[in-house]
């Protein structure tokens, strides 16, 4: 998806400079030549030997990362405007700033591995194969949404993509994730489950219960704590006695990862998958940051300074990091990258326009999918005499 667009974009805009430069440029962008990068920080490990800091990648992969993250960023910014225009209602939790976690994780695993997360799920949905149209339609409550308009921002699911949601209650998705891992172990498939939660949810009891069970039965579960340092409006040091979430597993090994560095995330997830298949659960703490507030109703500036936010944006932004790498290795020019971002803006706007045209669900959809077809009750109208719908 993203790769072909970027390739086309690059080829379109390569200026005919001196032939040797031209040739070199074509070579690096089209080839799968390997580039070695080092993660920005070393991994900090608990009860395990950390993986290596140097990772091999290719120009293709770099461009894919850039493109995917740009699309996610664009989608979240657009969702922000839609919310302010009252087209999205209720709760809307935006992921911008944390894209590296979604993209890095996706690049290390297959679609048969399962991911389950909480309510900050738009970008992970996209990573798992969700389309922009399904996203925006669901956010606006339209029929073409991924959950037929009946879930909303916090309930994105994609069964074919191995994405199990999308859950509103903090921490409740972790036992579900352990259940996914249990099913994978039960059916003896060699796949893993990534159960994601935030630093706020890390204080939930059910997490430790789930961790205990996963460790007891060696389930292929990877618990990923996306530590953006704020549990809604409360900073992590005010909510947790020990904010070293990767150590909280005690007997379960843990790894602390720079969540703004997509390569660190990719390396950690690959490492974790190998570990989980052999030895059972592992905790990954992704040190990341969200630029928006907790949700659209939170300005995000009452509990942290604007300087902090802009500081992180300047120094650690995941997209900027990839941009610098791409420019440093001469894979594309500044203008080409800007054009990719413009392209993303265009497709996002197109998706929004299409989603706006999508109809609202029928009234009969109120009663569909309550039970699986073949069972159910009848619903009568307010006068209780006339049957209004037969539940499938």
């Amino acid at each position: 998806m993203a790769l072909s667009t970027s390739r086309r974009a690059i080829n379109q805009f390569i200026k005919p400079l001196s032939s040797s430069v031209y040739a070199t440029r074509r070579l690096t962008s089209d080839s799968t030549a390997t580039i070695t990068v080092e993660t920005s920080l070393p991994f900090t490990a608990h009860n395990i030997d950390p993986p290596s800091r140097s990772i091999t990648t290719s120009p293709n992969e770099l461009m894919t990362f850039f493109s995917d993250m740009a699309e996610m960023r664009r989608m979240e910014i657009a969702a922000d405007s839609l919310y302010k225009a009252k087209l999205i209602r209720g709760f809307c939790h935006l992921y911008d700033g944390q894209e590296a976690v979604a993209v890095g994780m996706e690049s290390a695993i297959t679609r048969k591995d399962c991911i389950i997360t909480a309510y900050r799920d738009h970008c992970i949905f996209l990573g798992r194969g969700g389309t922009l149209l399904e996203s925006f339609a669901e956010l606006m409550g339209r029929k073409e949404g991924c959950s037929r308009g009946k879930g909303g921002s916090m309930h994105f699911y994609k069964k074919e993509g191995g994405f199990y949601g999308g859950h509103g209650i903090v921490g409740a998705q972790v036992p579900l994730g352990i259940g996914l891992a249990f099913a994978q172990k039960y059916s003896k498939e060699e796949y893993v489950t990534f159960a994601m939660y935030g630093d706020g949810a890390a204080n939930q009891g059910q997490l430790f219960e789930a961790l205990n069970m996963a460790a007891l039965w060696d389930l292929p579960a990877i618990l990923v704590c996306e530590n953006n340092h704020y549990g809604m409006g409360t900073a992590e040091w005010r909510a947790a006695k020990s904010p070293a979430y990767y150590k909280r597993g005690d007997y379960v090994p843990g790894l602390k990862v720079d969540g703004m560095d997509v390569f660190a995330v990719k390396q950690a997830c690959k490492f974790a998958k190998e570990h989980a298949l052999k030895n059972g659960p592992i905790i990954l703490e992704m040190d990341t940051y969200r630029y928006h507030g907790h949700s659209m109703s939170d300005p995000g500036s009452t509990y942290r300074t604007r300087d902090e936010i802009s500081g992180v944006r300047q120094e650690r932004d995941p997209i900027e990091r990839i941009r610098k790498l791409i420019l440093a290795h001469d894979i594309a020019t500044e203008k080409e990258l800007k054009d990719i971002e413009k392209e993303k803006r265009k497709i996002v706007d197109e998706a929004i326009a299409k989603a706006k045209e999508s109809p609202m669900p029928d009234p009969s959809e109120l009663f569909t999918n309550v039970y699986v077809k073949g069972f159910g009750v009848e619903a009568c109208g307010a006068d209780r005499k006339e049957v209004r719908a037969t539940l499938p």
Binding site: K150, Y157, A172, L176
Partner: protein, 408 residues
Amino acid sequence: MAAIIQGIGAATALTSPNSLDIKKSFLSISPRSLSVRKGSSFVVSSDGRLSYGLNGRGGRAEHFITNAVAAKEDTAAASTSSKPGHELLLFEALREGLEEEMDRDPTVCVMGEDVGHYGGSYKVTKGLAPKYGDLRVLDTPIAENSFTGMGIGAAMTGLRPVVEGMNMGFLLLAFNQISNNCGMLHYTSGGQFKIPIVIRGPGGVGRQLGAEHSQRLESYFQSIPGIQMVACSTPYNAKGLMKAAIRSDNPVILFEHVLLYNLKERIQDEEYVLNLEEAEMVRPGEHVTILTYSRMRYHVMQAAKTLVNKGYDPEVIDIRSLKPFDLYTIGKSVKKTHRVLIVEECMRTGGIGASLTAAITENFHDYLDAPIVCLSSQDVPTPYAGTLENWTVVQPPQIVTAVEQLCQ
């Protein structure tokens, strides 16, 4: 009249240690149960029910058990042949149903506290762990919230877990998982995931178990959209409902009762699956419809003995399906008798009886000659002292008085 005589003979058998012989339901079709459904203001969809789990035998009527207990004459006839079927206790019936389903479908697994090596605190899962292995009959730590969540997550991928709560009251800890994830995931995912989980366990008031171990969770769970609730009361319906619940693609909560595990009954050898949404006609009658479920069925049948002696003819229906209610069977009965008495173990406030009263009043108001009387447990925590505990639940003399007052 024949029914009344049968009822007397049957009721005496009931009060002794419960050895129940039942007629094969397929053989006895009471003509009353085949009454044609006239056009009524409430239309009940029977599509789902007919097509599901009836082993190809059409017709709902054939599954009525016209008598919970057999009359003496019939047992004499049956015993000349070498007593078909086999006798077992209710917990063994549950185990049999579970085992048959686990044999039939490799995705069925059990999880709960002490279900594996210990064999289940009420012996429902005894012998299953050595047979199927520790992964299929999983001993969980004492973490209801997360192992129920784990079962739901496993169900999302296609497994069919049977989660046991050692006592239904402990599932309060898992309420979030049951309400939000179990009940609602099929809906909020737009139909992408189905949750074919069975959550079962004993509840109800036992023998001086104390307030926290005597809870009736059916009243708390009944509002959750997307789940089905059934309550078993005899070995026959326990096995049938267990199998139906496991085969159902919807989440089903199966309520058992602590005091009913040692009921003995003779059930058939052939495989059978009952209908989850159907009520059971325990004793047909003419004067009053008594609706009940679980343990209160036995209090009602005991009261029925006294009532019959006094000349009343109560119709007793074990509603079995607590969500959704089988308003077809109930409605037919109300139209015949015009008087309803609900006897339940839930508390007065917000219990199953309260919802049932509302449902019947809304739909069958024109057919009622008297207001619906609902006998429920008192709105108090269940006390420890034996006498107080007896006064918390409905006792047979109260049922008799209520019927007498209703039928004036």
